[in-house]
């Protein structure tokens, strides 16, 4: 061991020159543990990570820009595609923003629609958290838990498919309400399924609390102290697992969460490590099942849709919602037309990715993936814009291609290859 003092990179920049005795190991963009592309450059000494530099943007699809060209109802389906797992919360967030802007003119959304939205939101939370549990189990090599938890997630997915008509992008929202109503048979079936789900999640809680190897792999790693969590703007379960009491559903209630406040608990846990995040997520799932049952039992009668005016008055609206991963922001500037002037989306992963770089520092390589997975990352951002440098040597230039240009190019390419259309 050399006597040189190891210079730890400053947290302000998150990057530094290569340190002595280190080896750089890339984590991503393609990695079996990452379900979506991102890149972390890890500097390791032996098995210990001394520095991690994130780089995101591999799935930048330009949704914010594209949203400016579409009408509000089209945008609802567009923002649903920001994320495959928490899709409903995006459309609720945008619908809330638009309805708030319309509220200036006295527009109101029916109560029953709000309840149905909230039910779907919580169902989404249940399936997302169980999905996360499976992924986390897979990261630490516990495939049995992974398979079993995903088997039980299917129940929730079946419910969602039945009430919305699709398994992933539900398209149940509309500006001014929801498209579909819940029938009594559906409500009964959901209550039955929720009982089964609750029983199974309690079982997983048992397993996670009692299983020795899970504790060995999750306790004491990926530590994010409460002070750091506040400083680095961590949100959602990541922050709550660091004993920071922040939950938009409670702090800034939207949809039907106002009525839920009496039975609402903000789940926090104080060990600040990955284990804490596992516990917080599992308990949150149990809570979500509780809220779904309450909402189903207290579902108000009435219409589910009120026809909104086509044009949205000029307003600057900030809509905060709580997806399963953290805090989602839709900041809408409307300009008295049927299209938004500017729609700013901030996803929870962008807020949490800085905390990951902090968590990884000082951990073993074996723990990087579970630390990274512990924030439940979801790298969905923007445009599929491809830069192609053309091969003309005399006039080299960088071209920016849009998606339709690319599609046309690919069709031509296949046609040249002799493929059918």
């Amino acid at each position: 061991m050399s006597k040189k003092k190891i210079k730890v990179a400053s947290p302000q920049t998150g990057c530094s020159a290569c340190m002595p005795n280190t080896m750089q190991i890339p984590l991503g963009p393609q990695h079996p543990a990452l379900k979506e592309p991102t890149h972390f450059l890890l500097e390791v000494q032996g098995e210990v990570v001394v520095n991690a530099t994130p780089r995101i943007g591999y799935v930048h699809r330009g949704i914010e820009k594209l949203a400016e060209t579409k009408t509000y109802s089209q945008n609802l389906t567009l923002v649903e595609r920001v994320c495959g797992i928490c899709s409903h919360v995006h459309s609720v967030s945008l619908a809330n923003a638009v309805e708030t802007a319309l509220g200036i003119e006295g527009f109101e959304v029916p109560k029953r629609a709000q309840y149905i939205r909230t039910i779907v939101l919580e169902l989404e939370r249940v399936h997302s958290h169980i999905l996360w549990l499976g992924i986390a189990a897979h990261e630490i090599g516990f495939d049995t838990l992974f398979m079993l938890s995903w088997r039980d997630r299917e129940l929730t997915m079946d419910i969602l498919e039945e009430i919305s008509g699709n398994r992933v992008n539900y398209a149940i929202n509309e500006i001014g309400g929801t498209r579909r109503d819940l029938s009594q048979t559906q409500i009964d079936r959901m209550l039955k399924y929720m009982d089964i789900t609750e029983e199974r999640i309690n079982r997983y809680k048992d397993i996670c609390l009692k299983e020795d190897t899970i504790r060995m792999r999750t306790q004491g790693i990926g530590i994010l102290l409460p002070s750091k969590a506040r400083e680095l703007c961590a949100v959602g379960p990541t922050a709550r697992a660091s004993n920071v009491k922040v939950d938009v559903r409670y702090d800034d209630p939207y949809s039907a969460y106002d009525d839920l406040r009496d039975i609402f608990t903000v789940v926090t846990y104080d060990t600040n490590d990955v284990f804490s995040r596992v516990v917080v997520r599992i308990i949150e799932t149990i809570e979500a099942v509780k809220y779904i049952k309450w909402l189903l039992k207290n579902l108000p009668e009435g219409p589910v849709f009120a026809k909104p005016p086509r044009k949205v008055p000029e307003a600057h609206v900030l809509s905060r919602t709580e997806p399963p991963r953290g805090e989602l922001i839709h900041y809408l500037w409307s300009n008295n037309t049927d299209k938004p002037y500017r729609l700013k989306i901030t996803t929870p992963t962008l807020a949490n990715i800085f905390s990951v770089a902090e968590m990884l520092r000082g951990d073993y390589i074996a723990d990087t993936t579970i630390s990274l997975a512990s924030i439940d990352p979801c790298f969905s951002c923007e445009d599929r814009m491809i830069t192609i440098v053309n091969n003309d040597r005399r006039k080299p230039k960088i071209e920016t291609w849009s998606e339709s240009q690319l599609r046309r190019y690919s069709k031509e390419w296949y046609a040249n290859k002799g493929w059918k259309k």
Binding site: Q12, G57, L232, D251, H316, E327, I329, V389
Partner: protein
């Protein structure tokens, strides 16, 4: 308006403490207040809010290409209510960058490290330079993306928008 008491109190406190520095301050709606300041004052406002109401949560940083051709940066800041109420109040702190060709603004990272990635994103996509930011390298766009092209500005047109413009001109 007894319902918006907490919000009004925050606005009044800001007004009385900063006086003329606050260009605009008003209660937008329930749990939302709108504040507008000139360039370097946002640091003071945020520090003040941080200390006075024990708030710590920077929600997001938005950047807007305004209809009048200038830019605005909006800091969304979560303020815990003064009387220990249970809901949080969000302050939309807007700062203008009047120069379109050379948009500059003082970075908030001195006060809030956590805002670093939000500001980098705004730099990447809108081209606003945050002075005092530790690392303004590319975050989202690829490294070989042409310099000086910022996709979220209004003069960057998508194909659909170009087609629409052509239709209109005809």
């Amino acid at each position: 308006m007894s319902k918006l008491k907490d919000e009004q109190e925050i606005v009044n406190a800001l007004k009385s403490h900063f006086g003329d520095k606050i260009l605009e301050a008003e209660v937008e709606r329930v749990r939302r207040i709108h504040v507008k300041v000139a360039d370097p004052d946002q640091l003071d406002v945020i520090t003040f809010a941080k200390e006075k109401w024990n708030s710590w949560h920077m929600i997001a940083v938005s950047s807007v290409d305004k209809p009048d051709g200038t830019f605005a940066v909006v800091y969304h800041y979560d303020i815990r209510p003064p009387h220990g109420g249970q809901t949080a109040i969000t302050m939309n702190l807007m700062v203008d960058c009047p120069d379109r060709n050379n948009p500059k603004i003082t970075s908030i990272t001195k006060v809030f490290i956590g805002a670093q990635y939000f500001e980098r994103e705004a730099h990447d996509l809108m081209g606003i330079v945050f002075e005092g930011h530790p690392d303004l390298s590319r975050l989202i766009l690829p490294e070989d993306f042409p310099e000086g092209v910022y996709p979220l500005r209004k003069d960057f047109l998508l194909e659909i928008q170009k087609a629409e413009l052509e239709k209109k001109n005809k």
